[in-house]
């Protein structure tokens, strides 16, 4: 059976403007980069990356953007949600020195991978990018784990002013990076891929998901790559052959929507 397991919200944290973290009990092995389907009964069921994982406890960190995330945003400690998963493949950085680039809520997806990298005695450099200061989160958390943190904001309200990709390009020149792991807006990731040269590259993609089990085809990119199952993380080699990468996604009806 693969149905939502009902669990109570143990804790809720405000992370940034319109961004919250929800903590719940969900004993299950998960890997950084995997995601859950989160059921908000009566509203919707949506994909959410695991933003913190422990044997029994899991967290998701999300931004309020529409119906489902707004309903989730309103929930209180003790309220119940349904969780199924984890789904997808997870990050697999190569080498000793890893560059993480998180744009927007993408940092939520990346955070556990950063911690995992440091724990495994590898070096992690993290670029957190956001439009503005108020939308930044996880800086402290990731500093604490021992990663090197760089911040960029589009408006320069904190850290580097400009595109996160420019900052990344800079780092790539200066440091001896073995892999790049990224999650964020797809055009950002696509730009990053062009900057990556021969460095091992993995990007976590977001597509409209329905089944999350690789059946319905809703989330497919390229030649039938299922983001829910063959992804959500794809390497650079694969993405170079995916003509839709950074170009369009599909909405709930399967119509193309340009980025």
């Amino acid at each position: 059976m693969n149905i939502p397991k009902i669990t109570k919200i143990l804790d809720i944290q405000n992370e940034a403007k319109n961004v919250k973290t929800i903590t719940f009990k969900y004993p299950n092995k998960s890997k950084p980069g995997q995601f859950f389907m989160i059921w908000i009964p009566g509203v919707d069921e949506i994909p959410m990356s695991v933003s913190y994982l422990d044997k029994d406890i899991k967290e998701i960190t999300f931004k309020k953007i529409g119906d489902a995330t707004s309903a989730l945003y309103k929930l209180k400690k003790g309220d119940r949600i349904g969780v199924r998963g984890p789904y997808g493949n997870g990050f697999q950085p190569k080498g000793k020195q890893v560059l993480f680039v998180g744009g927007g809520t993408g940092i939520a997806t990346i955070a556990p991978a950063v911690e995992h990298t440091v724990k495994n005695k590898n070096k992690a450099t993290v670029i957190i990018g956001a439009k503005t200061k108020d939308e930044l989160f996880f800086e402290d958390r990731l500093k604490k784990c021992g990663a090197k943190i760089l911040v960029s904001t589009d408006d320069g309200s904190k850290g580097f002013k400009g595109f996160v990709t420019d900052l990344a390009q800079d780092i790539l020149k200066k440091e001896n990076i073995d892999s790049i792991m990224t999650c964020g807006p797809e055009q950002m990731m696509k730009t990053l891929l062009t900057y990556s040269n021969n460095i091992y590259f993995q990007a976590s993609l977001e597509r409209y998901m329905k089944c999350a089990l690789g059946i319905c085809g809703q989330c497919c990119i390229g030649e039938g790559l299922r983001v829910c199952m063959d992804g959500p993380i794809f390497d650079g080699e694969t993405l170079k052959n995916v003509t839709d990468f950074g170009v369009y996604r599909r909405d709930s009806a399967g119509r193309k929507v340009r980025f």
Binding site: I3, V43, G82, C216, G224, K256
Partner: protein, 305 residues
């Protein structure tokens, strides 16, 4: 070992190199997915059921895995026929037949949709008269023999490619409906669509699917599908395509013995990976070799005594 059996088949005038087709609604909303399934050995592809207008489908949860099958109520999400042209056009060079599945509320809609599918280059049309959970479009049309006959015959006179009719098991008498399709000049019958079913969450005391009722597919429904094919085969003289819970070569052979000229595979891709088409094709060949069959025609309908 060289496999000696030949597993090519045909559905009316449509020849298939392999008897395993992709069922409608599974990994078939865009050209890329369909290409991948073709590479996995499918003998034909049936597209997602397409309607006149784009349709978002129901909110999630739309699909869950039960103990012995899959329950879904997608709500016929699809980009609409006008957006779908480019997907089929991209497959033009493929030698594998692409069958355009369509749904509508009346003959007029079905005619328009099938003409467009024909224009795009589809090898055949599959009329989905059997969605168990889409109001107006599914069983409302698919359980009335008169409507089935009218829709089928009006599509038939408007296109030149074969027209298949997909039936629902959620009816009192499926062979009556098959006969109606036959009398409307359908080129083949496809059965079965999913079985109406439900799963309730005990903690939240509510059906899990947002549409509450869904359609049941996978292993659990195979005996129901076999029965439907057998019943239909006793009543019509046109080819039948079997679908419902096919996971192995033996499942496919059971359907063929019941009367199916070819089979479709849906959620089998979940249980045995996308490569299930190659796997089943090979299993059929091996089974035939072991049991000294040379051609599928020796198997199709064999269980009718």
């Amino acid at each position: 070992m060289v496999l000696l059996a030949e597993i090519n088949t045909k559905v009316g005038s449509l020849p298939l190199k392999k008897p395993t087709m992709l069922a409608s609604g599974i990994m078939d909303e865009d050209a890329g997915s369909m290409k991948r399934i073709i590479k996995c050995g499918a003998g034909a592809i049936v597209t997602k059921s397409i309607g006149l207008k784009p349709r978002e489908g129901y909110p999630n949860p739309t699909l869950i895995e039960l103990e012995y099958g899959i329950l879904n109520a997608m709500g016929l999400p699809n980009p609409g026929i006008d957006n779908f042209g480019e997907e089929i056009l991209k497959l033009k060079k493929s030698k594998t037949p692409i069958i355009g599945s369509i749904y509508g509320a009346n003959s007029k809609e079905f005619i328009k949709l099938s003409q467009k599918m024909e224009d795009y280059g589809a090898s055949a049309i599959e009329l989905n008269l059997s969605c168990p959970h889409a109001k107006k479009y599914g069983l409302e049309v698919g359980s009335d023999p008169k409507l089935i006959k009218i829709i089928t015959s009006s599509v038939k006179v408007n296109v030149n490619i074969p027209v298949f009719v997909k039936l629902s098991p959620n009816v009192t008498n499926i062979s009556k409906l098959a006969k109606a399709a036959e009398s409307g000049n359908a080129d083949a019958i496809i059965a079965i669509n999913t079985v109406k079913a439900m799963k309730i969450d005990l903690d939240l005391r509510r059906p899990i699917l947002s549409n509450k009722i869904g359609g049941y597919s996978g292993q659990a429904i195979k005996p129901i599908g076999i029965r439907c094919i057998y019943e239909i085969a006793e009543h019509v003289n046109i080819p039948i395509i079997g679908v419902g819970g096919i996971l192995t070569g033996e499942d496919a052979i059971e359907y063929m013995m019941a009367g199916a000229s070819a089979v479709q595979i849906g959620v089998g891709i979940y249980y045995r990976e996308l490569d299930i088409f190659n796997k089943i094709n090979k299993e059929i060949e091996q089974w035939m070799d072991k049991h000294s069959y040379k051609k599928l025609s020796e198997i199709i309908g064999a269980a009718h005594l």
